[in-house]
């Protein structure tokens, strides 16, 4: 029998069967009362998830499309932006900014280290004539497993008074607190295949009143990714272009399940999955790519194995046990493996992954104490 695969990657993630079944319904017309009711319900729950009164708009796109929308709707060619770069996604946003002719200053930190809020403060305080129009921060850097200190950085952005915060919350929203109103976040981007426990295909952009003011001045040409059009139509619970209605069905079910669980329970669950994974990895004497627990992402854990080839380990896990973990990206390919623990992942999935990891390591003659990983995870799950 060929092993059915279990996704332990940072997206796409496992999806509840109720959500999958909802997506398999016959499409409805997107110009109908049934669709408007669906979108109204979804929108209310999106605001709940973002802890905000701001608009949350839905695009038929990947997270990258939503992120591009978050940039081109609020800025103009030649604007100066500050981009935090400590992984593939921070680097990507800087690259996107340059593609669009923005004057892009990178605040760069080596992959696996957190962005230093102090450096943001210094740049922003030095900008006396308010040339910085936006600061782009990747909250959870999926390529490394870092959770950047968004709360402090956004406080420094607020103190600047002019610059918008544009936040990649793709692997933090629904996974750890992203209190949009409390932190005063202007533009927050996310995607369906991560904390939403959904298949990929939808992007989300949450927009503050201050960002809408900037929208009025923004001069990038845009049509498909024009968020103003989305806002106009969202006022009557519809979309400017044909929406992926089947993914909307799925989203409605998923958000309702998440709401029934409650935000604090969702976040505590993700925290426990991360702690159990990290405890197990430590017990197996595998080097965590982000050793400092206080900056570890609750979405994904990076491991930089030194006594076994990462790709061999990854291959073994998938080949023999059907457990799919992710490789390193860009220059970290072949140096890193990443265990995703976001989406519809439960304690059992972590135990399974650790058990498969132990089994694979023993096959590869990696010197570690058999059972140590499982015991360490077990202690976290039992609250010891």
């Amino acid at each position: 029998m060929k092993n059915p695969l279990m996704l332990m990657i940072p997206g796409p993630t496992p999806v509840p069967e109720q959500v999958l079944f909802a997506s398999a319904k016959l499409p409805i017309s997107h110009r109908s009362q049934a669709f408007r009711d669906l979108m109204a319900d979804i929108t209310a729950n999106l605001k709940w998830l973002h802890q905000t009164q701001n608009d949350v708009l839905i695009l038929a796109s990947s997270g990258t499309g939503a992120m591009e929308a978050g940039i081109i709707n609020f800025l103009s060619p030649g604007d100066r932006v500050l981009v935090g770069c400590n992984g593939k996604f921070g680097d990507r946003w800087a690259h996107v900014c340059e593609q669009f002719g923005l004057i892009t200053s990178r605040i760069t930190v080596p992959w696996g280290k957190p962005l230093d809020p102090e450096v943001f403060r210094q740049h922003l305080e030095a900008d006396q004539d308010k040339q910085i129009k936006a600061v782009i921060v990747t909250h959870s850097e999926t390529s490394t497993g870092i959770l950047n200190d968004l709360e402090t950085i956004s406080r420094h952005i607020k103190a600047h008074g002019q610059a918008l915060s544009i936040i990649d919350a793709v692997t933090s929203l629904g996974i750890c607190p992203v209190p949009v109103d409390e932190w005063g976040l202007d533009v927050v981007v996310s995607a369906s295949q991560k904390g939403y426990r959904m298949p990929p295909g939808l992007g989300f952009v949450c927009v503050s009143p201050q960002a809408w003011q900037a929208y009025e001045m923004a001069r990038f040409p845009r049509f498909y990714l024009d968020l103003g059009k989305c806002r106009t139509d969202a006022a009557t619970h519809t979309t400017p272009f044909t929406p992926p209605v089947n993914l909307f069905f799925a989203l409605q079910v998923s958000l309702a399940m998440m709401k029934a669980e409650g935000l604090s329970s969702l976040f505590a669950h993700q925290q426990r999955l991360m702690q159990a994974t990290r405890a197990a990895v430590r017990a197996l004497e595998l080097p965590l790519f982000v050793p400092d627990d206080s900056v570890a992402s609750p979405a994904v854990t990076g491991i930089a194995p030194d006594r076994v080839a990462p790709e061999t380990l990854r291959f073994k896990l998938q080949q023999q046990y059907g457990v799919v973990i992710a490789a390193g990206q860009d220059h970290m390919r072949g140096k890193l493996v990443r265990i995703g623990h976001l989406g519809y992942v439960c304690d059992r999935n972590i135990l399974t992954t650790i058990a498969a990891l132990e089994a694979a390591l023993s096959t590869l003659d990696y010197p570690c104490q058999s059972g140590a990983g499982i015991q360490a995870a077990h202690r976290i799950f039992n609250g010891c």
Copy 2:
């Protein structure tokens, strides 16, 4: 019992249950051999459907997103384009061109009339210094039910020697012949919720070698909708950004079903559905918005009722029989109803629609001979 709805609108369309069930599978990693195999299979069948050796690229977007990609990847600000406008979608593409700073000449014809290829020929022949960089044509104009004479217009574009053809085939591909290579079409755009018999969420752009040459010179900033990135990754059967893998599962099944049926059979089926619908509408003495059979779209039939209010008729059909037909768009709202007969629609669906139409008309005291519509449709289905 509340009537379950039957979609007879020009998208979203009915979808086979095999396709829906495929979309409800657990997502897979988009960086896996299983995904590459899936995408290779899909790509081969997309080329079959387009009757082409050109690239066919897949975007996570609506048809509008794909159309914008078809414009911004091959043109630069200030380029001159010719746009055929005889309905909402032609008008939209002209508007998109203007949004992006293209010098846009409209060839305008009243809604419900076909574009005149001769006017295209005159404009193109008059352009001695080859300033026209592209000609944009909506093949099947969904807002009215016109099928424009793309074969002749594209011959005139070819004769120009420089201008690219950019074709909206959203409601023609898979519904009537769009032989991309034979007609020498450069950029052909379509979307999943139409002839593909799929839920919405995917856009497609088919690109000729001549268009790729233009791509090298095109200077619009772009990232998410950059087709060059798609082409690079498509070479190894992958995508630059996370694809909606569940919609890919659905697409694989749908294309395989279509291929098993064969192109000529698909087209003949659509032709029959259109003929039966038009015969029935005529028999019921309802005015066809496009009276000329030779320019009628096989995707959608527009009716401009004169002795009954279109919105009352539409409401009645849906309220009492669950048959959903479309309203007129823009200035034709309240003046037109549109019956979609594209997607996974069979002869029975047409009979059902006509039967419901007859019943609704009789309730509304519309003077027509009861049963005449069904008989007329029946004659078409029986080849009389």
